[in-house]
């Protein structure tokens, strides 16, 4: 058992190293306008993703369930999905590539944080053996990945829309483009969040006959979803944009982190099984 944990932790740290390398190369490539370095920063990122995938698959085979029980598994899989979501969107929207400046460090910070938790084996509670639970968790993770991309563009907007900006920011898309990317990726996140929430309610119905129980995690998830709904409606109907939109998004993003990681600790929640 000790050997298995050691292998898992070592693989995770190796993935962290790869992502750190990717971040250093990527940020320096963007900041110092070195196209080749920026381009090659994806090599260690891909390598990191492969190592990371092996680590997750290895641990899955040992514990016998997906990466959604122990805090280390949750954070590690969040990081994995964030990177995968970014690569998939990058395939369709190549202009979002500068978001890597935020996405890569977020990913390695999440895995590094995961490594500080004891990865001990958690047994799967009987109600957790449902495909709807897997969909529920997967869509929340995908929503988080998309929101991290939107966060990157909101931060870029705030950085670029200052009186004095650094030269490297010229590498970023135009302000209007950055604003649009933040808006659209929030929309993606909103949809994935809704799907995650609804899949959760179906799981709850299948497991104990109640599709909504005003559990603290459910309530805060709904609050976050409504907040993103307000953000999207303010942008569409009230032409909210620029700095105010970016700050509102950052607030919503913090709320989403609270919903995902803090409310699960509330003892009265059935979701507390995660972080016990």
């Amino acid at each position: 058992m000790d050997n298995q944990v050691a292998i898992y932790v070592a693989l995770n740290w190796l993935a962290v190293l790869c992502y750190v390398g990717a971040t250093i190369a990527n940020v320096s490539g963007v900041m110092f306008r070195k196209e080749v370095v920026e381009q090659r920063s994806y090599w260690p990122a891909w390598l990191g993703l492969i190592v990371h995938s092996v680590a997750i698959a290895y641990w899955w085979s040992i514990v016998g369930h997906g990466p959604y029980m122990a805090p280390s598994e949750v954070l590690s899989s969040d990081a994995w999905i964030t990177i995968v979501v970014f690569f998939i969107f990058l395939r369709f929207f190549p202009r979002i590539k500068t978001a890597s400046v935020i996405v890569f460090p977020v990913a390695f910070l999440m895995i590094a944080l995961a490594n500080f938790y004891n990865p001990g084996i958690r047994s799967l509670p009987p109600t957790f053996g449902s495909i709807w639970l897997v969909l529920h968790i997967a869509f929340y993770k995908i929503a988080l990945g998309t929101l991290v991309i939107a966060l990157a563009f909101s931060i870029f907007y705030l950085l670029k829309n200052r009186r004095t900006t650094s030269a490297w920011m010229q590498r970023l898309p135009e302000l209007d483009g950055i604003d649009l990317y933040a808006y659209r990726f929030t929309g993606f996140g909103f949809i994935f969040w809704a799907i995650g929430m609804l899949a959760g309610s179906i799981w709850a119905y299948k497991s104990w006959g109640r599709f909504w129980g005003w559990d603290p995690v459910e309530t805060w998830s709904l609050i976050t979803w409504l907040l993103f709904g307000i953000y999207l409606h303010l942008r569409r109907f009230f032409r909210l944009n620029g700095n105010r939109a970016a700050w509102l998004f950052i607030f919503c993003f913090i709320m989403s982190l609270v919903s995902l990681f803090v409310t699960s600790h509330m003892g009265s929640s059935i979701h507390a099984e995660y972080f016990k």
Partner: protein, 442 residues
Amino acid sequence: MDMLKRFFLSRSTIISLIMSALFAITLAAFIPQSFLALSDKMLAWQLAHPLLERCSTLLGLHHIYTHPLFAIILVGVSISLALSTWNQCQTAWQRTFQPKRDNSCSEIFFVATAMKEACRILISNGYHRQTAADGNMRLVRHPWGYWGNALLHFGMVVTIAASLFIALTQQRGIIQLAEGVVQQPADPLLMEEHGLLVNPLVLPGPLRLDRVTCSFWPSNAVRQIESKLSFLSDTGTIETKSVEINSILHHNGIRFYQGVEFGHAFFVEVTGPNGLKRILQLQIRHPEAPDKPSYNDFQDLLGDGGLVRAKYLVDADKKSFQHVNPLLTLRLDKQGKELGQIPLRVGEQGTIGPYSFRLGAFAPWSRLIIVNLNGMPGIFLGFFIICLGGALHYFTPPREVSLHATPSGGTVVCWRATKFSGFYPDELALLKKMLELEDNNG
């Protein structure tokens, strides 16, 4: 009527309704709700926040979800969503099947290619011909994207309507039975809930729990729980079925769910100071580990205002869950003071104060959740429509092209993306390249 419609569709009304819903739900997250919080926790909160408690009682903040104002918000949201969905459906229909001639373009350019050829190239690149008249042709890529927003909102309407229907018509309750015990239809259900339009749930006939089977992971965590039930009838027939976690049992239109709560019930014979004997059933949840006891308190069980505190180990030797040899310990508290405690195994007896206790037998018990509700297909349907609408809205925004033939034999191309046009400069550049661009004003 139009004024009312305009009111519900005004952007200020929509944003106010969403914000009101958000405010109410956030408030409910901070103030304990009477239908959720246990009475002792509610009391503790009230003692800790006397001022808030007064406000809460005055304004009815302990039952926000059944508050008339919340109902008004919910009705407002539903009407607004429904009207907005209808409007969006009309718009989508019109854009798909009766498009108006619209001259707004984000890009207009001239190509030497003839209109017919330009049309062919566009069709081969995923555009669909929509209309053709007066030397103009209109093509759209992803025309189904027009329906994204309408479906997204329609899905929410369906989900809210289904939720409302379920809330008004659902019947549910809980029974906790020990092996061999029969639940009669007239027996009250625990935590009974029913919607405004229906009566409390009544079992169709007597129900007996025959057997509870539990399996454990090597870590002693519960792996599965199964209850075998017998449905008894007046004619003497017995129908035996089983239910386990995530495997629902259907019987006479009622759904039975296996709860995660289970343990052992102890049948204790108590002899009071007056010599009167009675048998009490003490249900205690299963311990988390063989060496850790599980506890339960029974307030005023003996009718003298005292507190009976019970704990038990599944295996008195604290070795394994497989070896069931329980050790029950009873303690009697009166006015905060311990009167005494006794350990009991099956057949043993002891005395605390004026009471004599004898452990007659024990049996496993399990919790069954009984539900009778309709309308879940509406939730599933709403879920599907939201997914579809979201995918269409965000992943396939329509791109429109108008072609206009010029006397010189070339074509004026007018291109626009209905949403997020900043995402498609590459697509436009490719289009220009394919149409052998002769950029006019770019």
